[in-house]
Structures are given as C-alpha cells and as structure tokens.
Amino acid sequence: MAIVAETSRFGKLSRPVLAWIVGLLFFFPIFWMILTSFKTDADAVKPEFLLFFTPTLENYLNMTENYDYWRFATNSVITSVFATVFALAVGIPCAYAMAFNPSRSTKDVLMWMLSTKMLPAAAVLYPMTFLTKSLGVFDTHFLIIVVLMLINLPIVIWMLFTYFKEIPKDIIEAGQMDGVSTWGEVKEILIPLAWGGIASTALLCFIFCWNEAYWTVRLTTTEAATLSKLIEGNRAPEGLFFGRLSAVSAAAVGPIIVLGWFCQKQLVQGLTFGAVK
C-alpha cells in the first residue's frame, strides 16, 4: 500500500522496534525455560548466575535416565499420531457430506458437535474412569487414542468443513459428469484440492492431542502415560529443581514448537479454523 500519509516516523522506525520488543517479550518465557534447563538446580536460583553460567547437560541426562522420558515421549507420539489419523478418517467423510450436500440440519449438527466440546470434562471424569476400568481399557493406548480423537473431532470437522466449502461446487459436478465414483471424488478431487487445509487441520489436531492434559493425566497410570503426565507428576515442590523442571518441560514442548516453526504457514492458516480469509 502506498499511502503517502503512512510515511511517518512511527511507521519507519518505531514500528519494527516495537514489534521486535513484543516478539521477544512473548518468546522470553520459553527462552528462559531453555536457558534454565542448562543450569544445575543450584545455579538456577542464584541471581549471580542469571545469564552467565557454566552450561551443563546434566538435567537432560538425568531426565532420560531417571524419569523415563522416552517412554512418555513415545506414548505422546503414538497417541497423538493415531488420534489425528482417526479423527481425519472419520472427519473427512463427514465434512465432505456437509459441505457438498448440506441439508437444512447441517448447521445445527455442526453447532451441536462444537458444543460437545463445552461439556465440562470434570463432570464426567468419574463415570469415565469407572466405565473404562470396568471395560478393562483404562491406561491403554487404545483408550487415549479414542478419547483424544473424540475431543478433537468437532474442531477437525469444523475446520475441514470450512476448507471444503471453499472448493467450487462446479468442480465436484464436473467430476460427476466425468464419471467419478463417490470414492473417486474424494480421492481424485477433494483430497488433492483441499490438501493444504487437511494438512493444517492435521497439524492443529496433532498439537491439541500432544498438549491435552486432562484425560491423558487422569485416564492413565503408567502404560499409556504421555508427556503431560510426566509434567504433572514432576512439578516439584516450589522453587526446587528449576533446572531439572526446565529440562523436562523443554523436552516436552520442544518437539511441538520446532514442528510449529517448520509448518508455520499451514498452521497460521489452520489456526484461523478456515473461518477467516
């Protein structure tokens, strides 16, 4: 935009400076956590070692040896990946039908789905624990995958729906004229065309699964426990073990942050839930 009035001092100098300050400020807690993770527990709370200290990998070594980090991490990966895959497998056909053959109730169904996300999880925690224990699925990967899939399904369907709606109906009809089957329509036209949207949806779903900290903590003990459980279990008494705590935390959020950076573009698109152009 080349509006003359914009070439003020503010636009030239202050904007980048201010923007950088804001960016650094928001990133600072994460930076601080990573920095602290390289300090010993004793150094971490000493003001004199605030910025200058002898870095150590002790915390990370300790974490993998004593805290069984890899098992939790593996569980997180397994449950998040499968939950995402299943959510897409159930969500894509549903969103496809809603976007291309909407009926009068489509909007209400969509809204109802979203509203299931508002049910307070705590209210059904006890019945869920009771039920899963009596069914013998408590603390299994299967259970966590199913639960993660279900809590993210409404968002997945909604996002996919908004992406699919972007596809011109003409193209789907052209496909019908050209003789594609319903499955062919999904495989040959829908998925290639909405690929960006599907990828965004999958990424966001994966992140929500990874970060989920209610059911994953309460429906597991050891077998299927994820990184959220590791954090919950190891938030040490106040002020102690900052170094160790930081290392565990950094190792829990690190993979996701890096993934987020790499897929920034898709994510930004995904985060808007397809509802903002």
């Binding site: 636009g11 923007a19 039908a97 019908q176 903590v217 987020g260 994510l267 903002v276």
Partner: protein, 322 residues
C-alpha cells in the same frame, strides 16, 4: 429402492451424505450421552467413595435415591457461587485481554518490516506450549516471589535503591522510596491473576494470527478511498479496520471460550484451587469422595456451558454457512 440401486448417483444423492456423517455423529453422540447419562443418574443418588458409617452409599444404586438433595447440597456450598463467579472472571478477563492485545499486535506487525518472519515465529511459539508446562514455567520460574524472576527482580531493585540511598546529593530522594514487596501469586487473592496472565500469554498469539490473516484481506481500495475522504489513521482503524475484524473477533471469542471454560491444569498447578476454583475444579474436588455432589455440580456446569454456548453460537452461527 432396488430399482435405483446400480450406481445410481441421482437417487443416492440424499442417502449418501447421511451415511457419511453417521460415524462422526454416532461417535460424538455416544461420547456425549453415556457419560452425561451416568452423571445425571449419580446426581440424584447418594454416592460416596468412602463411608465407614454408611457403607451402602459406596455403590451406586437406586435405593440410595436422594432426589434433588445433591443439588441442594451444592447450592448451599459456599464454594459453588464463588466457583461460578471465578469461572466467569477468568474466562472474561482472558477474552478481554487477548482480544485487545491481539488487535494491537496484529495492527503493529501487519506491515512489512525487517525480520517480520522471525517476529512472527517468536510470537506464535507460546501457543504450542502445553498447558501443564505453561503453568509450571510461569508460577515457578517467573512469578515465584522469592526464586522466580519476579522475586529476583524485586530483590534487585530493592538492593539498588538501598545502595542509592547512601549516594551523595540524590540519596535523600531515594530514601523516600518504599521497600518493594514481591507479590505471591499462589495466595488466595492473587492466584486467579496468575492463571489469567499465563493463559493470556498462551492465547494472545492465537488472536494475533487470526486478526493478522484477516487484516491481510482488508480492502486496500476502501482504505485509499477513506484517505481521499480525509480519514486519519484513527478514523481508518475505527471505521474500517475494526468492523472488518468483527467476525474474526467473534471467532476468537468462541474458540477461546470453548477452551477456557474447562481450564483445569493451570488452576491445579498454580494453587491447587486455593482461592481460585472454577467449576471444573470444584467438581474435581467433590469427586475425591462425594460423587453425588460432583455429578450435581457437573450438571450445573453443563447448564452454564450451554448458556454460554447458545449465546456464542447465535453470534457465530449466522456467518458460518455463508
């Protein structure tokens, strides 16, 4: 039906969509109805996990029917009203802060400047932090009054002032300064603020990104027309940008409300609910023993969520199908 069966696209037009929606609808229906049904049932009976005096209450049974007793018990509990107020306080504060900050930051970084890509990466990062880590990080390493950065900073400032008080000429001025007291965010009065701070930090990036995406689609010709019409920067923002953002704001509010109504990990970690319960947390506390009361509270929470949902969906629903 048989007549149309072989590959009849025209006929199946009505049935196929319903078929494709069935798995998703069915799954969510089960996911909603079974636990909800059980909660409803438990909310009308006496059901506790441990009772030496009345062991028959420890198994759910219709013979322990209590009618609306659990509801009455919950309503008379002093924590209940507080939890509702606190839930609303937390959600509304977060919404308010994230929307304001989000709009400001989005407008700030909407124009190109050196390193914009990096700033965006920095800004987006908090959103990926898992809630448990977020809480642990903030309450321990940043907000802790002694060992966290806050404590260290307050200490440092106090030390600096103390040393300045002995300085010549200006020393008298600094001796007027009070000793700064660090704030404990685990205390009854302040723990809600800690939660608000950390969740705002995590979700502001979300608001920023949505608003930024929306700003990029703003009609530049409209803006140029406004400049020709003599609109200043503020008028442009007030009469063009803000209305343009109304839909994204509605979406930010809705999505966040969905997530924050069920806030739990942060509250648990900051103060174990001390002075800062919300409804989910209160339910969790009841559920340690009194399942009946927990279930009744759960039903109240469902009702509250539905009120909020109806309110929000009205707001969004209209524009969704466009």
């Amino acid at each position: 039906m048989r007549r149309a069966a072989p590959g009849s696209r025209v006929m199946s037009d009505r049935k196929l969509p319903r078929l494709l929606q069935t798995p998703a609808v069915l799954l969510l229906l089960i996911w909603m109805l079974i636990p909800l049904g059980m909660t409803l049932y438990f909310s009308f009976i006496r059901y506790v996990l441990n009772s030496l005096r009345r062991p028959e209450w420890t198994t759910p049974s219709l013979s322990n029917w209590r009618g609306f007793g659990n509801y009455q018990f919950v309503l008379n509990n002093k924590d209940f009203l507080f939890a509702i107020q606190n839930s609303l306080l937390i959600v509304c504060s977060i919404l308010f802060l994230t929307v304001i900050l989000g709009v400001l930051i989005a407008v700030l970084i909407n124009k190109a400047f050196p390193g914009r890509g990096i700033v965006r990466v920095l800004l987006i990062s908090p959103f990926f932090v898992m809630p448990a880590v977020n809480a642990v990080l903030w309450i321990n390493m940043i907000l802790d009054p002694v060992l966290g950065l806050q404590g260290l900073a307050v200490n440092g400032i106090n030390g600096m002032i103390a040393s300045l008080q002995n300085a010549p000429v200006v020393g008298w001025f600094f001796s007027l300064w009070p000793q700064l007291e660090p704030i404990s965010f685990r205390a009854t009065q302040t723990s809600a603020y800690a939660v608000i701070i950390m969740v705002t930090w995590q979700w502001t990036p979300f608001a920023v990104l949505i608003f930024m995406t929306s700003l990029q689609s703003e009609d530049q010709q409209q803006k140029e027309a406004a400049v020709l019409d003599g609109a200043g920067l503020w008028s442009q923002f007030r009469f063009l940008t803000l209305p343009h953002l109304s839909r994204p704001i509605a979406i930010v509010v809705m999505i966040q409300a969905i997530f924050h109504l069920s806030l739990y990990a942060e509250i648990e970690i900051v103060s174990r609910g001390n002075g800062n319960k919300n409804l989910p947390y209160l339910i969790g506390e009841f559920a340690n023993n009194n399942i009946g009361a927990a279930s009744a509270t759960g039903i109240f929470a469902v009702i509250l969520a539905n009120i909020v949902a109806i309110f929000l969906l009205r707001m969004i629903g209209k524009t969704l199908m466009e």
